[in-house]
Symmetry: C2
Subunit: 476 residues, 2 copies
């Protein structure tokens, strides 16, 4: 068992382990190659009866655990959306763990509550969100979107749903392209997925405002109650940006809560040149983005903003005797701003990241990623056997392989699936996929904190090489 | 902005800061004394444009933030339930942050999923939970209880509620003493708080099984649908243990989901002498406890166990194209075992704690805390002006001050409220309160990882001294 008097010795071992891990990172396979149960079977079925040594644990960490890690901080990780980190954020998490405060209410650590209030204001102002929005850190965008839908549910039922249950006629709208978390939230909230209306998108994969309005009118005529619209700023499949001004006008007209899901793309709002994405935001009710995706602040850290904080609190407040305090009403008790009671001191890592990068440093890195993506997309576009399926946007590129002028869509899909498999098995690069209009498409996202141009050039090279290894693309 | 080549230099600064913090900890006020907005006003209203130095940030951490921290790891912190930590857990969190894996599915880090599977088996077996239970780490017991209630909701509606919405006649039962998170979860789930039936307790504050059964029968007669019973093993107010064998028999007979909330007291199941608390657990459907309360694993880390994992997954699964993998069905994709999609690598800290303590070390520390509490309670019981309101149990003691044979209950309550305020303002000790049968009661929980006998003796001394400073108790 470790002892405080040896903390520096033990922490130094861990620090050195981490430094080694960072040094090795580029040489490790990006996506773990282990087979199911390979790690599980190396871990004893029963815990040790006696204390084991830190050195032994760190050795097992290297030998047993690391081979089963998919290295999200690897500069050749371009799958999903990133969950990027930074040295600042890692060190702040170390401190957060050491302080070990449980920040459920202001009383249980005033500094955590007030730092959270400030850094949320920093982000709000820097991202061009309206000054009357208030922010709170949630664990994930899934939870924040659930919170938004639950709040909308309460507002639309005059705050009766919590007490009386959910009427069967509340309607939630989003595009066919929006994230699975919305469907999950509508199910959890008791509104029922049958009441989630997926509105078709235009050629740019944006929610069609005209169809939304038509659907709302139709629902109203049928005695249904439009409750919430979820607009996406940067969809998962194609980073499409729904037309906020039109959606906001419709929501205002019909009295519907407008939640804006900018989980990944929201970070780009730090750049003035992307502020157009949220034109109309002053008429939205809530907004979410993840600093833990592309803002160098490690998972978990979701920033949720809401225009009318009183309705948020009214939707979630419970006040048992053992949590009554004298400061109640004077301060922010964030446990009433979301689902869990307990809360980590997550504001600290945002404070570290924002201060150590400076706003200038944040913007510079984001622009660097966007520039790298433009370079990557240009190379893909020029290559005779690759095709950009949609225009590149931000640090995201969706493309596919079209070998030897293959035109059969089913065969193209199979080729690209095999190509992805080949690449990811190589361990040199990790991409993920989606389907766009029935096409199996590779997704490349350049959002690693320490990614450099050479990694992107390497990715192009790996892609080209991998096509030679897919038999389906090279018949004969 | 920090650079990898200087990681060891920068991490050493942070490590030294933490070591200093640990060294100072006992001399700091346990509960922060700052006034509302005092911290907020010291933090600039706008973020810095240029990068700031780590030294400056650490200095501000000491000067601006630490005075606003309520020190949860202070050995004189005995409020609420603990959120204790350990050096092992802190170092593991450092590594978790450095690896920065987002563990939503097996593919995104097989080692995280498989280590989670193993350590949950370790805990299950060590705690005497049935071998057919499977475990998953959640953020908080609030979320886990919500997951349990949502799963019960789906089971009871033939998995239609997610899709069709929630019928208005589902009923959830718990005692009048159970945690506020149950009420919150019933509201969120759309079942409606009016359908939460709070069953009275016996003289030991345990849910009365006879009244539960009568209520279930009555509900059935009225066309209502009993859906879920939440049994508490260790309530927040008095650490009461509901009679699981009787409750399990009733739930079995009436086909009701039985969720067991052992958030705090569950850790004591590592001790054979407390296994009686969960007699009948084999007939329960789900069980939650928080290693982040009393098992030396820092917040957040909730262990949720469920008997039929297939129904859990069926209640939460969503499968968009971009998350389809080849390993699907062969492995555990934990994002389908709860609410958020994204997940931290939290199994690592449990692995560190369990291995470095050893089961022996865990048991020894728990028994030490229980013994300290017995000593404390004995001293309180013998003191002429203090009264044990209920018998001490585990590491929990509920007592009040009865100055000069005061018998007026309203005045006694006021005295104790002032006493608590005096103590907590002293900064030397932090307790919280509850009400038991209308009596304002002080709660003392001895669960700090590094608490020693001297801290408990000190607490007694501070209590005695503080009574002299409450004018209401010394009217002359």
């Amino acid at each position: 068992m470790l002892e405080k008097k040896h903390f520096q010795r033990d922490a130094t071992k861990v620090m050195e382990w981490i430094d080694d891990y960072f040094a090795q990172l580029e040489s490790l396979p990006v996506k773990s190659k282990v087979k199911p149960k390979a790690i599980y079977e190396q871990i004893p079925a029963a815990p040790p009866e006696s204390s084991e040594d830190l050195d032994q644990i760190l050795q097992d960490l290297s030998e047993v655990i690391v081979p089963g890690i998919t290295h999200w901080q690897h500069p050749n990780f371009h799958a999903y959306f990133p969950a990027n980190s930074s040295l600042e954020s890692v060190l702040a998490e170390f401190i957060t763990a050491a302080i070990g405060a449980q920040c459920m209410i202001w009383d249980t650590s005033p500094a955590a509550a007030e730092l959270e209030e400030r850094v949320m204001e920093w982000l709000r102002d820097a991202m061009g969100l309206p000054a009357n929005f208030e922010g709170v850190i949630q664990d994930t965008a899934s939870s924040a979107t659930l919170v938004a839908i639950l709040t909308a549910r309460e507002v639309k039922t005059d705050f009766r749903a919590n007490e009386d249950g959910v009427p069967n006629n509340l309607r939630v709208y989003c595009s066919t392209e929006t994230h699975s978390s919305i469907e999950k939230a509508v199910g959890i909230s008791g509104i029922g997925k049958k009441n989630l209306v997926k509105i078709p998108v235009d050629e740019k994969m944006r929610l069609r405002a005209d169809l939304l309005e038509a659907r709302i009118r139709e629902d109203l005529e049928n005695g249904l109650v439009p409750c919430c619209v979820v607009a996406a700023i940067g969809t998962t499949g194609t980073v499409a940006v729904d037309p906020l001004p039109e959606l906001a006008a419709i929501c205002e007209q019909y009295g519907v809560w407008l939640h804006v899901d900018a989980a990944y793309a929201g970070t780009a709002l730090l750049l003035p040149e992307y502020q157009w994405m949220i034109e109309g935001i002053d008429r939205a009710d809530s907004f979410v983005f993840n600093p833990h995706k592309w803002m160098f602040t490690n998972f978990d850290c979701t920033a949720y903003f809401v225009k009318d904080v009183d309705v948020l609190i009214r939707a979630f407040e419970v006040l048992p005797e053992y949590l009554k305090t004298k400061s109640r009403g004077l301060v922010n008790d964030y446990r009433d701003w979301g689902i869990p009671l307990g809360r980590r001191f997550r504001a600290l890592k945002l404070w570290f990241v924002i201060r150590s990068f400076g706003m200038e440093g944040l913007r510079k890195k984001l622009r660097h990623h966007i520039a790298l993506n433009e370079k990557f997309a240009a190379a893909i576009g020029e290559h005779p056997e690759f095709e950009l399926v949609i225009p590149p946007f931000l640090n995201y590129c969706a493309f596919r392989w079209v070998p030897q002028n293959e035109t059969d869509e089913a065969r193209l899909n199979a080729c690209n699936e095999q190509l992805l498999d080949t690449i990811n098995k190589s361990g040199k690069l990790f991409l993920s996929h989606t389907k766009i209009g029935g096409k199996y498409v590779l997704r490349m996202v350049i959002g690693q904190t320490y990614v450099e141009e050479r990694h992107v050039l390497q990715a192009l090279e790996i892609l080209r090489e991998a096509t030679k290894m897919v038999p389906l693309g090279r018949p004969n």
